[in-house]
Each structure stands twice: as structure tokens, then as C-alpha cells.
């Protein structure tokens, strides 16, 4: 049997969930024996592969780029996992939601900039009006709240999924800590 293909995606988040994933330490080797990491900010490939068995997504959907990415990921993924509070609740990226995008851009790039005050029009993808959880945009199969979810939780989720089971997260992780 060929190894399962797994991917991790980083949308609007602090990368803390990826750090927590790395905190699995030696258990990473165990995972690597069961699966290939085919796409991730931690590995080289630049394009999302055609078919991935399990994708862990960190971060909220905040920009047009995020939206495009998550749609693509969904289309090419078997089991989509929302990893961490930003993916599940929009969390810190969502704290801008009560305010209008224009005023946020003004605050960030004009009012609070010491030099070179201008709103970037290139390279930085335009923000969506709201930063939203992934399941408000595409169907999500497993949600793993936590800021970040602990390495133990992520290990549990991955081993269960690789074993073909749906992880039961009750009592294991929660919003916030």
C-alpha cells in the first residue's frame, strides 16, 4: 500500500499551529513513516498537488488569496482539517471584523507608519470584508480548536485519520488555551 499524502496549509494565522505540529518532536518520524508530506510551508513544492488525503489548514480566510487557496485545497483534498482557533473561529484575525477594511488599512499603513506612508496595492493580496472561519467558506471534515492545539492533540488527530478513523476530540481541546 502506498503511503498516504498529507499537506499543511498556512492561511491567516501566526504559524503557531505549525510550531505546535513541529512540537510532536520524535513522533514526526512516526508520522513520516505512514505518510508523505506533499505540500506545506515547511517543504518545497509550490503548487498544491492534485490529490491529497489529509490537509491540515491553519489560519482564517482573510484575503482574496486565502479564499482562492482554500477553494483549491478543498477541491483536491480528501479530509480537510481546520487546525486551531483561527481556522475554526477566525480568532485574532477576526478581531478586525467590527471595523471596515478601509479604516484598518489607514490605521496600519498610514496612521501608524513612521516612514513611507502608503497603502500597498501590489504583492499584498486585498483583504476580504470579513475574516472568517474556514467552514464558513468550504466544507470542513474535522475541526480542531485550540490556540494552538497541543502537539498531543495534533498527533492524535493525525494518527486517527491515518488509521482511517474519525478523531473524537471531545475532552481533548478547546477554544483558547
Amino acid at each position: 500500500m502506498s503511503k498516504a499524502k498529507i499537506a499543511t496549509v498556512w492561511l491567516d494565522g501566526c504559524s503557531g499551529c505549525h510550531m505546535s505540529l513541529l512540537d510532536m518532536d520524535e513522533r514526526l518520524i512516526e508520522i513520516a513513516q505512514a505518510a508523505d508530506l506533499v505540500y506545506s510551508p515547511l517543504v518545497d513544492p509550490k503548487d498544491f498537488p492534485d490529490q491529497v488525503d489529509v490537509t491540515l489548514v491553519e489560519g482564517a480566510v482573510s484575503s482574496e488569496d486565502d479564499l482562492e487557496k482554500i477553494k483549491k485545497v478543498r477541491a483536491h483534498t480528501g479530509v480537510l482539517v481546520s487546525l486551531g482557533d483561527c481556522a475554526v473561529t477566525a480568532n485574532v484575525p477576526g478581531m478586525r471584523n467590527p471595523f471596515k477594511v478601509d479604516s484598518i488599512m489607514d490605521r496600519a499603513y498610514l496612521e501608524n507608519a513612521d516612514t513611507n506612508q502608503q497603502i500597498p496595492l501590489e504583492v499584498i493580496p486585498p483583504l476580504l470584508p470579513m475574516s472568517v472561519p474556514i467552514h464558513h467558506v468550504v466544507d470542513v471534515d474535522v475541526v480542531v480548536p485550540g490556540c494552538p492545539p497541543s502537539a498531543d492533540t495534533i498527533y492524535y488527530v493525525m494518527t486517527e485519520l491515518l488509521a482511517g478513523r474519525t478523531p473524537d476530540l471531545s475532552g481533548k481541546t478547546r477554544f483558547g488555551i
Binding site: N97, V132, P133, P145, R174, G176
Partner: protein, 242 residues
């Protein structure tokens, strides 16, 4: 003094002996049966607003809040079912969607009753859209702060201030989703003349809405254990006076 009659009824199949003036919630707790609550707090009057404690009663489709319902002889109460479980999750979803509850940056992270309830009922994501209201933080009081983003309108603060402290600094203004906790006649808390700065409201607040100034993320721990003591002591005095 008229003694309440003694009755027997069932909670989740378990026989319960009760005085008829005890609520289903009190009796469930006495008998080690867990019913989730949020607005309820032992020592304060019952409010019946959060609806988390709704239970089923055999013979009717209606749901009853355990905190304000009294048992009758032969009643059969059920505290857990798929329907109740789903509705409790829905209530928590509604609360999380209503205001801006960002656990990871909240003073009460890790010590919050709302967060804890989501954990214990397995409410792990919010299906309905977030409402993202723009809300204020009142930091005008020298010792404490009020963050409306975290408030769940349980009115524990209103009740403790009125019923225990006797100041009635807090009350509710506005309707529906616009309802807000206000100090005195909708003044900044620091300017509310009736406030004694006793801090009881902060201690009974289930979330990070009321907090001690200086507490950073996850540093706000609350102690509401003084309440049953105070209210029992007061009840004792009142009985002596009679």
C-alpha cells in the same frame, strides 16, 4: 412557618426525594446529576435567561428550565438527550456568535465558564455567522474594567450588586441584541456614585467581561465562593428576626 411538602420524583430514572420548594436544578446537584448552567449562581435569585439548563419532562414536548421549575409528585425529568445536547450546543453557538469572544487573548482564558461550557458540551465550532458587533470597553473604574465584547448578559453582576451588596449599580439598558449592562444611569463605571468598589460583580462574572485591572491574558481567576456563605448568613439573620 409553613413547611414544604415532601414529594418523590425521578431525574434520569433516579428516584429523588424532595421538598416541593426545591428546584429541579438544586435537586439534581444534590444528587450528583450534572445540568449545565450559565446565568444561574447559587446564592443569587434565579433568572432563567440562558436556557442552558432546560430539561425534558415525560408526557410533554415542552422544555423546562431546571433552575426555575419545581418538581411535582411522580414527575419524570430527563436532563440529557440528543435534543437537549444539540440545543445546549446551539445556545453556546449563539453566545459565541453574538459578541466578540476571542478566547486566546481574553483575560479569563482558561478560567472562563463560557469557554468551559463549550468544552464540556463539545461545541467545537460555530455554524452560524458571527455578528461582529462594535463594542466598547469601559476602563473608567480605578480597579476594574468592563469589556462588553465578552459579556453574555447573564445579569449575575446586576443581581449580586442588588441582592448581596445592596448598591444596585448595575442594570440593563436596551432591547434584544442591543441590550447592555450599564452602571447607574448609563454612566462610565468610574463615575457611578452608587458603586462601592466591592468587586463582587467581577467575582461572579462567568467570562472576561468584568475583570480586575492589571490582569493580562489568562490571568483573571474568579472566586464566587463567598456567595452561598453570604446569602445563607443573611437568610439566617432574617429567620432570627422572625
Amino acid at each position: 412557618m409553613k413547611r414544604a411538602r415532601v414529594i418523590t420524583f425521578k431525574i434520569d430514572g433516579q428516584d429523588i426525594g424532595a421538598h416541593e420548594d426545591e428546584t429541579i436544578l438544586e435537586l439534581a446537584r444534590q444528587n450528583g446529576i450534572y445540568i449545565p448552567t450559565l446565568c444561574f449562581l447559587e446564592g443569587l435569585s434565579q433568572y432563567g435567561g440562558c436556557r442552558l439548563c432546560v430539561v425534558e419532562v415525560k408526557g410533554t414536548d415542552r422544555l423546562f428550565p431546571a433552575c426555575t421549575t419545581y418538581p411535582i409528585e411522580g414527575m419524570e425529568v430527563f436532563t440529557d438527550s440528543d435534543r437537549l445536547h444539540g440545543y445546549r450546543q446551539d445556545i453556546l453557538q449563539f453566545l459565541f456568535s453574538e459578541r466578540n469572544h476571542v478566547c486566546s487573548v481574553c483575560v479569563s482564558n482558561g478560567n472562563c465558564e463560557l469557554q468551559g461550557l463549550a468544552f464540556s458540551t463539545g461545541m467545537d465550532h460555530v455554524e452560524v455567522p458571527y455578528l461582529n458587533p462594535q463594542l466598547d470597553v469601559d476602563a473608567s473604574h480605578p480597579l476594574f474594567g468592563l469589556d462588553h465584547n465578552r459579556c453574555v448578559m447573564c445579569t449575575r453582576c446586576v443581581r449580586v450588586c442588588d441582592e448581596i451588596e445592596g448598591a444596585h449599580t448595575w442594570d440593563v439598558v436596551g432591547r434584544g441584541a442591543d441590550a447592555r449592562i450599564v452602571a447607574d444611569l448609563n454612566q462610565p463605571w468610574g463615575e457611578a456614585a452608587s458603586c462601592t468598589s466591592c468587586g463582587k460583580c467581577v467575582q461572579v462574572c462567568p467570562t472576561g467581561a468584568l475583570f480586575r485591572k492589571g490582569a493580562s491574558v489568562a490571568e483573571m481567576r474568579k472566586q464566587a465562593t463567598f456567595l452561598p456563605y453570604l446569602s445563607q448568613m443573611r437568610a439566617g439573620w432574617q429567620n432570627e428576626e422572625k
